[in-house]
């Protein structure tokens, strides 16, 4: 398969369940009243991958995750997780999954250790004999040992987030679903999560991580899907996502108005500068770089830097989900 960018392209050929997929949804739909939160989503998460699930706020990422974990029922379509039909096989699949969904949720009046004991006791397959040791190991793995005995209401958001990850790691898992795992973490914590995800992936665990932070996905993931307004608009390996044949021109100039006008004459539409840098999609890659530079100079724009390069994940993301602050409806 050369390209799996558009989800719709892959559907027809993949109707048979694929054992190599940790998560597989076909035509997944979730409707709340009249609102279509998830619309015909076809996710294919390969086993062993670190899969980034990208999308603006409100695009339906968390709703999709809730359906995957059986917290909410799908309105239509099929879901297979770890090769098993969901939600029929929920009881046998869920023990193999560790998850952090929409932020941590804990009893504020209990200590970190007591909270993990409580949630572990809900898992019928978790042995009470090893519980204390497993709780201790999970707290150690997320760097919370020092605060294990403190009540959770005294925890910072970052500490609760770590405790949430520790809960996902209480048992050996085959799949980890982490919804915005670095939310509320300091830069140090963000790095630790990244390292943790890499080490889990090295153990062969599939990690499905949702985020709206592109850098995070770019640093951690092998695969990604982009969701926008309830639909998957792109899916594949990170390289496949970036490699679209599109070429961008980047110009560093203090005279962005002049430069924009000059580019417009060449048929290139540039947006507003970010960090003193203009960025624009080259509609026609045959336009020579020197043509652009001389046009800029002729227009009186001081060119301090110039580059022509392929799309970054951010370019793709913005192209797919739109720019600006509009939260998807």
């Amino acid at each position: 398969m050369t390209s799996t960018i558009a989800a719709s392209e892959t559907v027809e050929s993949m109707t048979a369940p694929d054992a190599a997929l940790a998560i597989e949804t076909r035509g997944l739909v979730k409707r709340f009243g009249t609102q279509l939160a998830v619309n015909d989503v076809n996710l294919s998460v390969p086993r062993g991958s670190v899969f980034g699930f990208l999308g603006p706020n409100g695009s339906g990422k968390t709703t999709t995750i809730r359906v995957l974990l059986g917290l909410a029922a799908a309105t239509g379509g099929s879901v297979r997780v770890l090769g098993e039909e969901m939600p029929d096989r929920l009881a046998s699949v869920l023990p193999r999954i560790g998850a952090l969904v929409e932020g941590p949720g804990f009893y504020p009046f209990l200590s970190g250790t007591a909270n993990l004991h409580r949630l572990d006791s809900a898992d019928r397959f978790a042995s009470p004999a090893t519980r204390t040791a497993r709780v201790k190991a999970a707290l150690e793995r997320v760097g919370l040992s020092h605060a294990a005995g403190k009540k959770v209401h005294a925890y910072s958001l970052g500490m609760k987030q770590r405790l949430g990850i520790a809960n996902a790691l209480l048992m050996p898992r085959e799949l980890l679903v982490l919804d915005e795992p670095t939310n509320g973490l300091d830069p140090q914590g963000t790095r630790e999560v990244r390292t943790l995800v890499r080490s889990l992936a090295a153990d062969g665990i599939t990690v499905f991580v949702s985020s709206h932070l592109l850098d995070e996905i770019e640093l951690m993931c092998t695969h990604a899907a982009v969701m926008s307004v309830g639909r998957i608009v792109a899916q594949g390996t990170l390289d496949e996502l970036r490699r679209t044949g599109e070429v961008y021109v980047r110009i560093i100039t203090p005279d962005d108005d002049l430069a924009r006008a000059a580019l417009a004459e060449l048929g290139i539409a540039a947006g507003y500068p970010v960090g003193g840098r203009l960025s624009a999609l080259l509609p026609d890659p045959s336009i020579a770089p020197e043509t652009i530079v001389s046009a800029l100079v002729a227009a009186g724009a001081r060119v301090r830097g110039f580059d022509i390069e392929g799309a970054t994940l951010e370019d793709r993301f913005v192209a797919l989900t739109g720019e600006g602050f509009d939260v998807a409806q």
Binding site: R96, A122, D123
Partner: protein, 293 residues
């Protein structure tokens, strides 16, 4: 998508070392620990314990002897025999204080977990939805038992400490020894405990309808008040045998000679009916509910 390299490297984690050892009792034990270690629960039990103490102090400190006509039934008998303090305290707690505390505990069962965000983590653990409901109901029932026991035991201890205790004159006029009297009081306490189980099931059901625990608590308490008002309206006589509070004060039947278990049985059957109906409603609602909190 090339995933051959990763998929071959995948090591299947061992989910269990031996054969699956289901630890079904674990969740119930954890539920009871969380419930009874919680400050709020302890405060409510403390308030229940204060009821017999307050009654005892009021009787002890009031100079005039009460006439039998005034105040709640049995109150005038307490100064003659301390064991009647238990009956008086249960009688006073049953219409309001016990339903109030049970409203708090039962209303909190599912809605409380939802508002803390722990419900989704219990479900993906996975606790199992029906198992979670059963454990939650068992927790409320345990609270009903402990709440009643706290009133009864405090009543006994305070009664013994403050008032003379001797042979007890029953409502039928017969007298029985202390041993027999304590047995009767245990029966009365069991009657009160059983009386609360129907309301507990209603509270559990209401709790599955919302993510706002205070709302579920208030609604459960309101239910108990409304039903008792309906039970007091003679025009609604046809409805009375179906109201869960209908037999509540009939525990007096256990204080007669010969002892009559008829109202105990009718009450238990009625409460069982409420448990079945509202338990089924709770399961029906919760089993298919989208957990979005």
């Amino acid at each position: 998508m090339s995933l051959n390299s990763v998929s071959t490297a995948r090591s299947v984690p061992e989910t269990d070392t031996g054969p699956a050892s289901p630890s079904g009792g674990s969740l119930l034990r954890s539920e009871l620990i969380v419930l009874f270690r919680r400050g709020r629960t302890l405060a409510m039990l403390g308030a229940l314990a204060a009821i017999p103490i307050m009654i005892a102090l009021a009787i002890k400190l009031s100079p005039a002897k009460l006439s039998a006509a005034k105040g709640p039934p049995f109150l005038d008998q307490v100064s003659n025999n301390g064991l009647f303090l238990v009956v008086t305290a249960l009688l006073i707690s049953l219409p309001l204080f016990l339903p109030l505390t049970i409203g708090v505990v039962a209303g909190d069962t599912i809605a409380g977990e939802a508002s803390l965000g722990t419900l989704r983590y219990l479900l993906i653990a996975p606790a199992g939805r029906i198992r979670l409901l059963l454990v939650k109901y068992a927790g409320v029932a345990a609270f009903c038992f402990v709440g009643t026991a706290v009133v009864a035991i405090t009543g006994t201890l305070v009664g013994l400490a403050f008032f003379p205790v001797g042979r007890v004159t029953l409502l039928s006029g017969d007298t029985v020894g202390i041993g027999e009297a304590i047995g009767r009081l245990s029966l009365v306490s069991s009657f009160v405990f059983v009386s609360l189980l129907g309301l507990s099931a209603i509270g559990l059901f209401i709790s599955t309808l919302t993510v706002v625990p205070v709302g579920a608590m208030a609604a459960t308490v309101v239910m108990s008040v409304v039903v008792q008002i309906l039970d007091a309206l003679p025009q609604l006589g046809w409805l009375h045998p179906w109201l869960f509070s209908h037999y509540w004060i009939d525990f007096a039947d256990l204080l007669r000679q010969p002892i009559s278990f008829a109202s105990f049985g009718e009450n238990a059957l009625l409460q069982l009916g409420y448990i079945v109906v509202f338990g089924a409603l709770a399961i029906g609602r919760f089993a298919s509910k989208d957990v979005l909190s």
